[in-house]
Subunit: 382 residues, 2 copies
């Protein structure tokens, strides 16, 4: 058996940050959500997972490493993805017997993130999107990304949205088997390319109020949550799609902020309560509010995932106002401002207290923007 008989494909996959939040599963095995969600895919220049999928008749077992560390590949979520992808490859091989029998070989999966894992950024979305995309490329599957998103969803719910660039919706679907719970493109990054994102990463030394409970605790105990899922999110999905299609930043921003707050309100209504934001997070909210008031219009929108880091969306034309003001508050010396062309400026009046909290609490920043979907690459990690 020759050494060259190793098959490889590699991909980069992006992070996405939801503006209509996914929280709560109606089926925990299939990762079916209680409500639809919508996200902006961020640029892979700043945040991405790089994954190489390889297989060979010489490999003796499936394996997965992340940033050089072996990972457990036997989890039901990962196994569900591998099983579905192998089944699709097997069907190809059956219809075309000349194809190599990759579906029978062990897989070696090697991943690396270009952002610090300590930053507390949800990397599982990019990770599972990269894993599914890389194996699909390795297997030369003709499967469209919508169908791959159905597979990635079983690895990590929000991963399904990272199979597209730009503005992406994940429909909750109605089928019990999850066949219609998949992501689709609302608009590519090129539709509204001047969307920018400033990630304010809270200092790891900031005190955290940890929580052991998660989204299913919210489903089980929050009396507000069913109202959110059934009544609040559906009209917001329609309004957010409309705002994006019409490039209406004011509506986009207002909805984004309300959605983040509604999600965290349901976390706080969970028993016992779940708190992801800390005083630094709330100080970032007050800064965004002040910037919008000072401008007399929405120039920025904050949103928080399941953690204290603040993501601020804004348009390129307002970069100096938004990112510049945050640079003045956070401090020019913090990591992440270099080479981005943002000038520190004085923040609006009255932000002395929250400004000091932002300066103390934000450890680093990431300046990025909307970006495209997974990119195939010939740069292999193994």
């Amino acid at each position: 058996m020759a050494d060259e008989e190793v098959y490889r494909a590699s991909t980069y996959a992006p992070v996405n940050i939801a503006v209509v939040k996914y929280w709560g599963k109606r089926d925990t095995t299939l990762n079916l959500p209680t409500n639809s969600s919508l996200s902006v895919t961020l640029s892979q220049d700043d945040l991405r997972t790089h994954t190489t999928a390889s297989c060979s008749p010489t490999f003796t077992a499936d394996s997965l490493t992340l940033n050089g560390n072996p990972q457990d590949i036997t989890t039901p979520r990962t196994q569900a993805c591998l099983r579905e992808l192998r089944a699709l490859r097997h069907a190809l091989e059956t219809s075309n017997p000349s194809l190599p029998k990759l579906s029978t070989m062990s897989l070696r999966l090697t991943s690396a993130n270009n952002f610090p894992t300590a930053a507390g950024l949800a990397s599982s979305a990019a990770g599972f999107a990269a894993l599914v995309r890389a194996i699909a490329d390795l297997y030369a599957l003709p499967t469209p990304p919508e169908d791959l998103s159905r597979i990635a969803r079983q690895g990590s719910g929000s991963a399904c949205r990272s199979l597209f660039g730009g503005y992406v919706a994940w429909n909750t679907g109605t089928s019990p088997d999850g066949s219609d719970s998949l992501a689709h493109l609302i608009a590519p990054a090129s539709h509204w390319p001047d969307m920018r994102a400033l990630l304010l990463i809270t200092n790891p030394s900031q005190k955290a109020i940890s929580s052991t409970a998660g989204m299913q605790q919210t489903v089980a105990t929050s009396p507000l949550f069913p109202h959110r899922a059934a009544e609040i999110v559906p009209p917001r999905m329609r309004a957010m799609e409309k705002a994006i299609l019409s490039r209406d930043f004011d509506s986009f921003a207002t909805l984004t902020m309300k959605e983040s707050n509604n999600f965290h309100a349901c976390c706080a209504d969970t028993h016992p309560p779940i708190f992801y934001m800390n005083d630094t997070s709330r100080a970032c909210i007050r800064v965004c509010e002040a910037l919008n008031v000072a401008a007399g219009r929405a120039v920025c929108a904050y949103t928080f995932d399941a953690g204290p880091n603040c993501v601020v969306y804004y348009l390129q034309a307002d970069e100096q106002v938004v990112a510049g003001s945050f640079k003045g508050l956070v401090g020019e010396g913090k990591e992440g401002w270099e080479g981005k062309g943002v000038e520190a400026r004085a923040a609006p009046q009255g932000l002395e207290t929250v400004g000091e909290m932002v300066r103390q609490g934000v450890g680093r920043v990431i300046l990025t923007g909307v970006g495209d979907g997974p990119r195939r690459t010939e740069q292999h990690l193994c």
Copy 2:
């Protein structure tokens, strides 16, 4: 006109801390709430307003002082209380012409709190309850406290509950004129006298994220709030009343904590969001959770009004476990522990981080318990 022609009556009135929260008005002029609420009246030995109401034909104008500082008596809320009380006195004077015409004389109202105003404790409830009770006594009104509560409600909504001791409900009522929106006794303090309250007053130096918005902003903007008012509070009112009547601390505690979180969730869902709790508040929550887990039952329940101070309810039998553990965390040197017989003890394992936050963030404590309603006194302030 002789100098002795000054009529006086004085009262003490208590603070109350709600366990089913009042938040949102359906009528801002009449102070009619969107939902019913239920509170525990705290002991006047520790927290009370002392008010003397006096009138005399020699007085030339109504006046009000609090802790020696002149207050604006012309506010619509105060005027509504004075108008209603004078009308009741006028009816008495009409039916019995021998009575002195107090309703025609100017009122001099003098108030003092026995607790630090800087502590951020809602003092308006005790203040308006004392004002209404003192004038009613001055006027020798036979009006039952339920009817006085209707008057006090117009001064400050939660004041209506401070006209009773023990366990008190304020029914939202259905009448547009507010005639049935008044407080009534669920059970006197003697029904469940071993209820204790530990108030953890956050250090004023703790950073605050101020908010300009209030409860009507929640009514106007929170999509979760109508669900709370219509669907969540009514069954909780019934369950809380039942828990109190059966002295079921476990149910009382669980409902109290869920209610506090539900209220603050609706504040967070307001646009822009309202945050009253800070990281110290949330650390206090984690301590209460840990104490309940360590005990294997609910030994304490936290609740937060519109501010960062934590109120912890517990039963006398658990005072060493609850108050003692907090004393160990907060620090014995803090003001408020003296002479209360609580021994500092080690907190449960795993509370190092939140314990440090509690130690840094809590500036003083007040140890008190359930108490009785307004008390007439011959101690006059003027």
